[in-house]
Symmetry: C2
Subunit: 124 residues, 2 copies
Amino acid sequence: MSETRPTTAEIAADFTALWRAGEFRAAGEKYWADGVVSIEPHVQAGGTDAECRGIEAVREKNLRWCSTHGIEDLSLDGPFVTGDHFALFVDMLIAHAGRRRPHSEIAVFAVRDGRIVEERFFYE
Amino acid sequence: MSETRPTTAEIAADFTALWRAGEFRAAGEKYWADGVVSIEPHVQAGGTDAECRGIEAVREKNLRWCSTHGIEDLSLDGPFVTGDHFALFVDMLIAHAGRRRPHSEIAVFAVRDGRIVEERFFYE
């Protein structure tokens, strides 16, 4: 392991700071591993698979979602770090198709070799 | 839905109180759904599958683990509730085979109809 490789706690802090600043895509681009797997509870509106494997698929999902949805009143609790995982508790308003709806989720990230190798989202 | 059915927040609070009291099995027996799925990051020592489906399999995993491991210095952060999920951050010492080792994990629970239908544990 490189001595300069950031710890999971350091990655979690920086990633969360980027999310707090609304820089979701920049956070992903900075930390997603090439083989990152992104897992939602179910198929996404627009037909995106619940599970996206690889940075290209995850990037595409992210772009598709962000191009049609706005995030307002973002509130984050965390990060909570245990070993090579960290979690965030997310509350927000999602603006989509002229409406706003509240959304809460638990996001759990797995880190390996300084990169996020898995992100898993829990919500209804 | 029954008017008397407890909310996810109420279940999370009671379940966590039982864990804090060291009553892990009682917490499970009180809240596991018949079809509960329990998911570990990898196959367990002793050969238990990473994913156990159904209350009998989950009960058996729990009994097998508890009969050979002790939990000391348990520290819980949470519960954090979002919609139909709640999460706990767990630190403990695991006593096993004459040794003690620290263990940290994130535990995420999915609730449906007043019962835990999925428990998923994240650790190294």
